[in-house]
């Protein structure tokens, strides 16, 4: 009976741990929409991604189709503001607080005092050949974007992600040291 209790406790704790690794778009981000002059919100769960794949049969869509094939969700919140200071660092605290080690690793952290363009990139998982999730926080004085890609991503796919869809390629090095760059 005691062993059963311990086993149950272990299961509950692991389940809680697994849940703690999950990232959810904080509700407070959506409140920024009221202050924003332009808002882009994308919420695509696994079902919607599967549905989208049905219509991604063109040759041009092949890479995007391959990229989203195993994903569980894509979530984007992007806000553009007319004035500086429409959002604060505290608004991002609910995002950052979920992206803790060991589940998440910050691989890029750029903070620029010159133009105020900050970028943080987090990878989920400890498998060097695969990333289990990706979160990007891109913050300008007048723009804030949070991207969450939930699900397995091949590092080469991240490279594709940067290179396709009308933007140049980006070289991804998962598990590389965080580039704590910029005039911090």
């Amino acid at each position: 009976m005691k062993q059963f209790g311990i086993a149950l406790l272990v299961i509950v704790i692991s389940a809680m741990g697994a849940r703690a690794q999950d990232f959810k778009m904080p509700v407070n981000l959506d409140r920024l929409a009221a202050k924003a002059s332009e808002t882009t919100e994308v919420t695509l769960n696994g079902r919607m991604l599967k549905l989208a794949q049905k219509f991604m049969n063109d040759e041009d869509d092949a890479e995007a189709r391959e990229l989203i094939k195993n994903l569980k969700g894509i979530y984007v919140r992007s806000f553009q503001f007319d004035s500086v200071g429409a959002y604060s660092d505290a608004d991002l605290e609910a995002v950052r607080s979920q992206l803790k080690s060991p589940a998440w690793e910050k691989v890029v952290n750029v903070r620029s005092k010159t133009d105020g363009q900050n970028a943080e990139i987090y990878f989920k998982g400890d498998n060097p050949d695969r990333i289990d999730g990706l979160v990007i926080i891109a913050a300008d004085p007048r723009e804030l974007t949070v991207v969450h890609i939930d699900g397995p991503l091949d590092p080469s796919n991240i490279e594709k992600l940067g290179g396709q869809f009308g933007v140049p390629r980006v070289e991804a090095h998962p598990k590389s040291k965080p580039a704590k760059a910029g005039a911090q």
């Binding site: 882009t40 994308v42 695509l44 919607m48 991604l49 549905l51 989208a52 049905k54 219509f55 991604m56 869509d61 995007a64 990229l67 989203i68 894509i74 979530y75 984007v76 992007s78 890029v108 750029v110 620029s112 363009q117 970028a119 990139i121 990706l134 990007i136 891109a138 974007t145 991207v147 890609i149 991240i158 992600l161 940067g162 290179g163 396709q164 869809f165 009308g166 933007v167 140049p168 980006v170 070289e171 991804a172 580039a179 760059a181 910029g182």
Partner: protein, 118 residues
């Protein structure tokens, strides 16, 4: 009544007598007539049931409604899928552009470090 009288009466009653002329033909004709009338009446009776009378129309309506619903559902799903595809492409574009910004920043910082070292 004496037993002999009863016997006599029975014999009289049960004595063989020939049927009137044409009796067999009339019986057969009537049997045939009755049989055909029963058949036509039963078909008519069944057809008069409201359910069966409307069944073909109801079946046609069901088939038509099912077909239309299926088409509407297909079109809705197609529209939903097209919208989802657009959302996917938008999300990937935004993600790509943000990755590019991060990359440019990292590159510029690295370049700055190299310049400082020089």
């Amino acid at each position: 009544m004496k037993p002999n009288e009863i016997d006599e009466q029975l014999k009289r009653a049960l004595r063989r007598c020939e049927p009137p002329e044409g009796f067999a033909d009339r019986v057969l004709a009537r049997v045939e007539r009755e049989a055909s009338r029963t058949t036509s009446r039963s078909v008519w009776t069944v057809w008069r049931w409201p359910f069966l009378r409307w069944a073909p129309i109801a079946a046609l309506i069901v088939i038509a409604v099912t077909g239309i619903s299926y088409q509407v559902h297909e079109r809705q799903q197609e529209a939903e899928a097209r919208a989802a595809k657009q959302q996917v492409m938008l999300a990937l574009r935004i993600t790509g552009s943000k990755l590019r910004v991060a990359k440019q920043k990292v590159k510029s910082v690295e370049a700055g470090k190299v310049e400082n070292k020089l």
